[in-house]
């Protein structure tokens, strides 16, 4: 039995709390773009992804490419809860020797003779604009072998300012890669400004439609909506799919919400307590 929406909402509260705790512990990280991802990742991993945390390299698994690598505290938190690695690892985030790097790494290879693979991390990311092309390559590989695996890639809105993202969007549309599902975390803020104050990326829906994608729009904090749209997107054939998930950067912590100051810094002890209190009360 899959978990109920109520159970998932409780998990989301727990995940938000953990994200704040581990970023506080690391004394650095990206709370804003992690908090906006919580319902997206929770719905994807708990209700839709074909995967097996006990067997992370199972060949039949779907792939997840976190193109917005800076959102990894959210991904790590979900992966740990699912059992990909022990929860204690979360508190080693960004610390020397940890498998949980500041941006996700698939294989730690600082020592070539001792490659350490990180369970659940399919691709090393962190530099924006690369994930979609990599996901496209995975999709082509699966199609060549007539395999049913799906590839989910989670992109930021900001990385739609990167030209490489559009190379991949154009290619996927032309090639009708319908095993590709992109979830776009549209939180409308980038590091320094609101996106529409720098180089606006809108209208995203029209742009994707022009590139021959199937486009869905949802409230990215509604598990119900995400679940329903993911179900539709998985079934739709003949085009790559994008789910434009309207989200709030820093969601769940009032002083972080819609505030560019919380793109990439850790709260101090006092603000951590305040954030957690708010998350728990709202949850």
């Amino acid at each position: 039995m899959p978990p109920s929406y109520e159970e998932l909402k409780k998990l989301c509260t727990q995940f938000r709390k953990t994200i704040i705790e581990i970023i506080y512990e690391a004394k650095s990280g990206h709370p804003g773009g992690s908090l906006s991802l919580v319902e997206i990742l929770t719905t994807l991993y708990y209700l839709h992804l074909n995967h097996d945390p006990k067997n992370p390299y199972w060949e039949e698994r779907d792939r997840v490419v976190l193109s917005k690598g800076h959102g990894c505290p959210a991904l790590y938190t979900v992966l740990a809860e699912l059992g990909y690695f022990p929860k204690e690892e979360l508190f080693k985030l960004r610390k020397l020797g940890s498998i949980l790097q500041g941006h996700p790494v698939r294989v730690l290879n600082s020592d070539n003779s001792n490659l350490r693979y990180v369970p659940g991390i399919e691709v090393s990311t962190g530099s924006l604009g690369y994930g979609l092309s990599i996901a496209v390559g995975m999709c082509i590989g699966f199609k060549m072998d007539n395999k049913p695996n799906k590839v989910y890639t989670i992109c930021s809105d900001g990385e739609h300012q990167e030209g490489s993202t559009w190379e991949a969007i154009m290619f996927a549309g032309v090639k009708k890669l319908d095993n590709l599902i992109e979830i776009l975390d549209y939180n409308k803020l980038q590091q320094e400004t609101k996106i529409d104050e720098s180089v606006d990326i809108s209208p995203l829906k029209e742009k994707y439609l022009a590139f021959n994608w199937q486009v869905y729009e949802v409230d990215g904090h509604s598990i119900e909506q995400l679940d329903s749209i993911l179900t539709q997107a998985k079934q739709f054939q003949g085009k790559p799919k994008v789910i434009i998930a309207h989200t709030v950067k820093g969601k769940g912590v009032s002083f972080m919400e819609n505030n560019v100051d919380w793109h990439g810094k850790a709260p101090d002890e006092k603000l951590k307590q305040l954030a957690i209190k708010e998350i728990v009360e709202k949850g």
Binding site: V105, V107, N109, S133, A135, G137, I140, G141, M144, A168
Partner: protein, 315 residues
């Protein structure tokens, strides 16, 4: 006289090499960027269209797609003009190919000043430097088309990223079908003891010619074909330094950061000897015939001869 077996472009080794072994590598996939005919990837594409992906003029996407293919078990070979493959895509190659430890093979053609008439925009002279600096990357510069084919076949068995640099122009073929090639091992083509000449790519031929010219003047040189720049064959470099007590390195590449620098890095911490560098000296090229350019930019045998003479005096 230096024996040559005609003239051919080393890029031909790519298509021929892949075709020769394609059946043995069912997971082989070729990725091109609107240049498959000129890279010779087209030979493979025609026979195996279902295993060929043309991304159009979108090199960054080509590299990203290759990374994705590799992560789902394919053996992707990406090829286009080196300028755009490793020049434009350096960060993708660092972040996605190397840091991910993927099995992506990058074949840059039309490298060096011998690309000729297209001019400096297409003449990459920095690729060895920017590829060899990357962790996990291997860098190979075959000396001719015959060696290139063997290297293309052998690199398919290497675990991890590889960059192979190939030329557009028809250049002298100096190796033959029976010569053994081992990636990571240099080869002494002629032995001598007054000066060691260590070269890669088209400069191996020029070095052999220079060696003949010097022999007529009573100077004996060792010529080493050092096709693999990373991982570098330290043993052959140290042995050459010990025997000759001076070195001249020759490359169709900037003297900063390429083969010469790689050799100097080995010698400075093991067996320092005086070294001279034949290569492009911190300049861009220009349009011209390959031979005219090699002359103008001091890459010909006579330039090697004068560097050898000057380095011997400094011993």
């Amino acid at each position: 006289m230096v024996t040559i077996y005609g003239t051919r472009a080393s890029r031909e080794g790519l298509g021929e090499g892949l075709l020769t072994v394609a059946e043995q590598y069912p997971n082989l996939v070729a990725v091109g960027a609107d240049t498959a005919d000129s890279t010779t990837l087209g030979l493979f594409a025609k026979k195996y269209p279902e295993k060929f992906i043309n991304v159009g003029i979108a090199e960054q996407n080509a590299v990203g797609i290759a990374v994705g293919l590799s992560l789902v078990g394919k053996l992707p070979v990406v090829s286009t003009y080196s300028m755009f493959l490793v020049g434009r895509c350096w960060e993708e190659i660092r972040q996605s190919v190397c840091y991910n430890y993927t099995n992506v093979k990058l074949i840059g053609t039309h490298a060096g000043i011998t690309v000729g008439l297209d001019g400096a925009s297409h003449q990459i002279l920095e690729d060895i430097a920017i590829m060899r600096v990357l962790p996990n990357m291997k860098v190979i510069v075959p000396s001719d088309a015959v060696e290139a084919k063997k290297i293309i076949i052998k690199m398919l068995d290497i675990d991890g990223p590889v960059y192979v640099r190939l030329s557009r122009e028809k250049l002298p073929v100096i190796t033959n079908e029976n010569d053994e090639v081992e990636i990571g091992k240099g080869k002494i083509l002629i032995d001598g003891d007054d000066c060691g000449i260590i070269s890669c790519g088209v400069m191996v031929y020029e070095s052999l010619v220079a060696c003949e010219m010097l022999k007529n003047e009573g100077i004996s040189c060792r010529v080493v074909n050092l096709h693999t720049i990373k991982p570098i064959d330290e043993e052959i470099i140290i042995d050459t330094a010990k025997k000759c007590k001076c070195i001249v390195t020759c490359e169709e590449h900037q003297v900063n950061g390429g083969l010469g620098s790689a050799v100097a890095e080995v010698l400075s911490r093991t067996y320092p000897v005086i070294q001279e560098f034949v290569g492009i000296e911190n300049k861009f090229g220009e349009s011209g015939l390959p031979d005219e350019l090699m002359r103008k930019y001091h890459l010909k045998a006579e330039n090697i001869v004068s560097k050898v003479k000057s380095v011997i005096k400094k011993k």
